[in-house]
């Protein structure tokens, strides 16, 4: 997993709420058996029309906007559990998604792939959209260590919350499996001592 410490970048705005994982990566692209190459099909049906031509009105096809930060409406990543959504965003080149809240499974998947789901208040989200609209070249800084999100254009700095454990994992590029494997003895002790009607 790629480590994440600090990032300064322009941002891509997508001010739509409830963006579901079927939009992020449609089901017909889930036939792959590796984790690679999903970025080409990120937001496929919003990005391309039926004849596979780029839709000029979609933000990823608009040269005015670019960057490693995606800013999206509330409840980003709802719907299916497909981790392919996080893989597609990361493969395309995003390293963080900013929204006022994320669907639970997506948030976990993003964290497990070094893609930072950054939660800001609805007001800060609005301000962020306004800033990008007014100046598409506006830059934002995410400092994970300090847990701050800075709008370099306006100078606004806000703190964001992240679970301590997950923060350490992101900063060091660790994933949960290493930690869980280290708990083997405790897991076996639990199995020995429990009431079990599941088998």
């Amino acid at each position: 997993m790629q480590a994440f410490k600090k990032l300064t970048s322009t941002a891509v705005p997508l001010p739509i709420e409830d963006i579901d994982t079927d939009q992020i990566i449609p089901a017909r692209f889930l036939k792959a058996t590796t984790r690679d190459g999903f970025g080409d099909n990120l937001f496929r049906d919003w990005r391309y029309d039926k004849l596979e031509h780029p839709r000029p009105d979609f933000v990823l096809n608009n040269p005015t906007y670019s960057g490693e930060i995606l800013v999206a409406g509330a409840n980003f990543g709802c719907g299916s559990s497909r981790e392919h959504a996080a893989w597609a965003l990361a493969d395309y080149g995003f390293r963080a998604v900013v929204s006022s809240y994320f669907a639970d499974i997506f948030r976990g998947n993003a964290l497990n792939n070094g893609l930072l789901p950054l939660i800001v208040s609805p007001e800060v989200l609005d301000e962020t959209f306004r800033t990008i609209e007014a100046s598409p070249a506006a830059r934002f800084t995410i400092d994970l260590e300090a847990q701050t999100f800075t709008n370099e254009e306006t100078g606004t700095v806000v703190k964001f919350e992240i679970d301590e454990y997950k923060k350490t994992c992101m900063i060091n590029g660790y994933d949960d499996i290493d930690f869980l494997l280290s708990q083997r003895e405790k897991i076996e002790a639990y199995e020995e001592n429990r009431v079990d009607f599941s088998l």
């Binding site: 049906d45 792939n113 869980l180």
Partner: protein, 462 residues
């Protein structure tokens, strides 16, 4: 004063991690072809085996054809993915109910019908509708592929304990109103993000009065309001459903299990972080008008012009996609396809309900109707009861088991621009195929629409 959720969760905590996360032991892990290949690859790369093979069951459902299931899969990428599940299961020693196996079917249909799903257990699957299994009083939730790998390797996930919510629905449902309408109604009130961060317990007399199939429909759609999962307290209905199933406990073991299961319901003074209450009588037959399951309304209502839950831009985008207008009524609107299936509504009770309505009738000439049983066992039972004939005589196609047109991944898709009344759980843009327009409804409303060729109020037919 613990809740049902607390009791099951707390009994599965292996250890606590500084910062609030817990290592949660997983009793049962279901896997399918789409979200498992990268997890198996991960194990291989790390050189680690599956820790508890007796706790994992695999099936092929999302990416399988529902026609000619005895022949090799025609589409090369789908065939490769399904074959890879077979070879991975062989290599790692996992029980597989693959295509052609009498137990094959949608992962959330086969778990309960085989007696694998039980009260008081923890269950995961790389699929968000794992919430279905909560109907038995289990903690069941969807996970991503990285977590699938973690569970394979350690039988555990790392999570912080979610918040609790109780949704109480008291009273009686109107005739023609089903569990599907109930949950679509609740989601329309709370929105697709209303349950985020929570596990939801459904309670109240309207819930208690439901069959296990109805309860599964409710818990299935918990994820559509953003909840991690849903649960319903186990009771006699639950025990009767499980008793005698293929892998259900027997004899003394059964007695001991039931005794334990009876201790699980929330204590009378249990406290929830969030509570909602609804009245069963208030719930009409529901349809959706937009592009997420929260955009639902009663069949007689008009599409709202303003919403507290959905912003203007989101509503406008939904209307453009659906080819509909804010403020319009949808009752009487012609439709093109009817899909009866998916892990929400493809159990034999759903098929019985729809069959009773179409029996002796013909579906409208403009309608393409397909009925897809959730599993081979459901198909077998339906055939034994003659339901397949009822459907085919009426002009429906009756297919083999799988996810089918629920997700626009396999061969079964709805063409662009066409309206499909679907008993599935998601009306997202492109969910049933690029450009397809989905209207979610109950099996009764779907069957009625097939016969009429348009959206109708099923209360007026029964």
């Amino acid at each position: 004063m613990p809740t049902l959720f607390d009791k099951v969760w707390d009994a599965h905590v292996v250890t606590e991690v500084p910062g609030g996360n817990q290592v949660l032991y997983i009793d049962k892990h279901l896997i399918h072809e789409v979200t498992s290949p990268q997890a198996f690859n991960g194990l291989r790369e790390r050189g680690i085996p599956i820790l508890r093979r007796d706790r994992i069951v695999a099936t092929a459902d999302h990416n399988v054809p529902t026609k000619d299931q005895d022949k090799p899969i025609a589409e090369p990428l789908s065939r490769k993915q399904v074959n890879m599940l077979t070879s991975n299961c062989e290599e790692f020693g996992v029980e597989l109910y693959g295509l052609g196996h009498p137990y094959q079917g949608i992962v959330h249909v086969i778990g309960p019908e085989l007696g694998i799903t039980r009260p008081g257990i923890t269950m995961v699957c790389g699929d968000s509708h794992t919430s279905t299994h909560g109907a038995f009083g289990a903690i069941a939730f969807g996970i991503g592929t990285s977590q699938v790998e973690q569970v394979m390797a350690t039988q555990c996930v790392l999570m912080s304990k979610p918040k609790s919510m109780r949704i109480t629905v008291d009273g009686d449902l109107q005739p023609g109103v089903t569990a599907k309408d109930l949950i679509l109604y609740v989601i329309s009130q709370l929105g697709t993000g209303g349950g985020t961060g929570h596990f939801v317990e459904y309670a109240g007399t309207a819930i208690k009065g439901l069959s296990m199939e109805g309860r599964m429909t409710i818990c299935n759609m918990s994820i559509e309001m953003g909840a991690r999962g849903g649960l319903i307290a186990p009771d006699e209905t639950t025990f009767e459903y499980i008793r005698g199933r293929e892998f259900a406990p027997e004899g003394e073991e059964w007695e001991a299990a039931v005794e334990y299961w009876r201790t699980l319901p929330s204590d009378p003074d249990a406290r929830f972080d969030t509570e909602y209450t609804f009245r069963g009588e208030d719930i009409p037959p529901m349809i959706t008008y937009g592009t997420n399951p929260g955009m639902g309304m009663g069949i007689k209502e008009t599409i709202p012009t303003k919403s507290e839950i959905h912003g203007d831009a989101t509503l406008k985008k939904a209307m453009e996609y659906m080819g509909l207008e804010l403020g319009n009524q949808m009752e009487g609107m012609p439709i093109d396809y009817v899909f009866i299936g998916s892990c929400t509504n493809s159990r034999v009770e759903d098929l019985r309900l729809a069959a009773a309505l179409v029996k002796g009738k013909q579906i409208h000439e403009n309608i393409t109707g397909i009925v897809v049983p959730g599993s081979q066992q459901v198909a077998k039972q339906a055939i034994a009861e003659g339901l397949d004939r009822v459907f085919t005589d009426a002009g429906f196609e009756f297919r083999g088991a799988g996810c089918s047109a629920c997700l626009g991944m396999n061969e079964d898709k709805i063409p662009a621009g066409r309206y499909c009344v679907s008993t599935s759980n998601r009306n997202f843009e492109g969910r049933q195929g690029p450009g397809a327009r989905t209207i979610l409804a109950s099996p009764l409303t779907a069957a009625a629409a097939a016969v009429a060729g348009k959206l109708v109020d099923v209360r007026e037919l029964i």
